[in-house]
């Protein structure tokens, strides 16, 4: 049965991908992209990869669609059609495709027990993580504890991405600040506030979205979820607020200085937990020394670093959205 569903989902993905290729309206392409994301998340669910599906749901289908739209608002929403015959690209794609298919032949059978990936540390994670880290969700144990360095790197990547976007899109702001244009209440800003249905719905939902984000944040130890997903969901609440009540009001709720501070604070909290474990006589990011009992220490450390991850992710996502939204306003 699952094979049949998998095949159908794959088929849907193919149809979506082909439509994306044939579509010249970039706006439709963005939406089809979000559908593609939804489909792949469905596949992850079937493969039992709950945490990956969760991330795909929150990041792939939601935030990236919104950010892509933000990019579109800075460019043209129709693809430039070139009439040259694309022989060279086709040959290149065919070659690359056949190399990939050829190398896929050498991969182990789907789900084979003797696949190389199962030969290294996976057994240890599955058998020992309960005793060593003490969390029911092995994925969280691996991400936050065994591979703490790796995750710190990922958070740094997000931090860097946030800084990059701030540098690229935020520079124009300073020059416009002394101009009086900025201060004028622009017609249409926060227009959706007058859309009473959306306003009431947003008012009703926003607090619960934020609470759900925090639930995901603090229950990463037990079920799917964790800092990355929680950060994105929390940012989604702010994005909804910004969409309905206007960017200006949203910035007034969380001033830019605060988001900037939080971007750095999350990474610092993560790295700081590592330093604390160094100072208390363990290795860097070895949380066992943080409390009297190793598993308690692990629990505390994971809770703290996940919180750091969530803070950085949420702040970066909010900054990204605001940067794009602001930038379009400058263009008028």
């Amino acid at each position: 049965m699952t094979e049949a569903v998998n095949t159908l989902l794959l088929l849907f993905m193919c149809v979506t991908a082909l439509t994306i290729v044939r579509q010249h309206n970039l706006f439709a392409v963005v939406m089809l992209g979000s559908v593609f994301s939804l489909l792949s998340a469905g596949m992850f669910v079937l493969l039992d990869a709950v945490d990956v599906a969760f991330t795909e749901a929150a990041v792939g289908a939601g935030i990236s669609t919104i950010l892509m739209l933000g990019v579109l608002s800075l460019t043209n929403s129709r693809e430039r059609i070139t009439f040259s015959t694309p022989i060279f690209p086709i040959v290149l794609v065919m070659l690359a495709g056949s190399v990939l298919i050829f190398s896929a032949l050498g991969m182990p059978e789907f789900g084979a027990a003797d696949a190389p990936i199962h030969g290294h540390v996976a057994d240890r994670y599955i058998e020992k993580s309960g005793a060593e880290v003490g969390l029911p969700n092995i994925v969280t144990s691996i991400l936050a504890s065994y591979r703490g360095f790796d995750t710190l790197g990922e958070v740094t990547v997000i931090f860097t991405a946030g800084i990059g976007v701030m540098v690229l899109l935020g520079l124009r702001r300073r020059t416009a600040q002394d101009g009086s244009v900025e201060e004028l209440p622009l017609p249409g800003e926060g227009n959706m506030r007058h859309h009473s249905v959306l306003r009431v719905t947003a008012k009703l939902l926003i607090p619960f979205i934020m609470l759900f984000a925090l639930y995901v944040q603090f229950h990463g130890d037990f079920g799917p979820g964790g800092g990355f997903q929680a950060g994105v969901i929390f940012a989604a609440a702010f994005i909804l607020y910004g969409l309905v009540f206007g960017i200006k009001n949203a910035v007034a709720v969380v001033p830019e200085g605060v988001t900037r501070f939080l971007i750095a604070a999350g990474v610092l909290l993560y790295a700081g937990v590592g330093v604390a474990s160094l100072l208390m006589g363990g290795n860097y990011l070895d949380y066992s020394v943080l409390a009297h009992e190793p598993t308690h220490g692990q629990h505390l450390g994971i809770l703290l670093i996940e919180f750091g991850v969530g803070t950085t992710v949420a702040a970066v996502m909010i900054t990204l959205f605001f940067s794009f939204a602001r930038r379009t306003r400058k263009k008028t």
Binding site: M1, G42, T65
Partner: protein
């Protein structure tokens, strides 16, 4: 019986995909994507039961909420050409009489 439901939901999803591919207007596509999203919520909920892990429901919940925000973002973008934007604003909007006096947080 979960199998039958799964098949029905997949069938509905394929109908939504068809509508999304043929359009013809952009609003048809938005409508189809939105409907596709709610069907994905159902699909994940049912799949959780089909493979015996109902704790997938958190994911379904996330979808439901992301889908809504995505739809609103798409529509806002369609109407204003951006997220905090004014250009391409339609002037015939009747319920926006007071938008000239609007601005700033309360």
């Amino acid at each position: 019986m979960f199998t039958a439901t799964t098949i029905a939901i997949l069938l509905t999803m394929s109908l939504a995909i068809a509508r999304m591919c043929i359009g013809p207007t952009i609003y048809d596509r938005v409508l189809a994507v939105n409907m596709f999203g709610t069907k994905t919520v159902l699909l994940i909920a049912v799949l959780g039961y089909l493979i015996g892990r109902p704790d997938f429901l958190d994911i379904a919940l996330v979808y439901a909420l992301i889908n809504f925000i995505g739809t609103i973002a798409v529509l806002k973008f369609l109407r204003y050409g951006g997220f905090g934007d004014t250009h391409e604003m339609d002037t015939q909007d009747v319920d926006d009489k007071s938008n000239l006096s609007d601005g700033g947080p309360q």
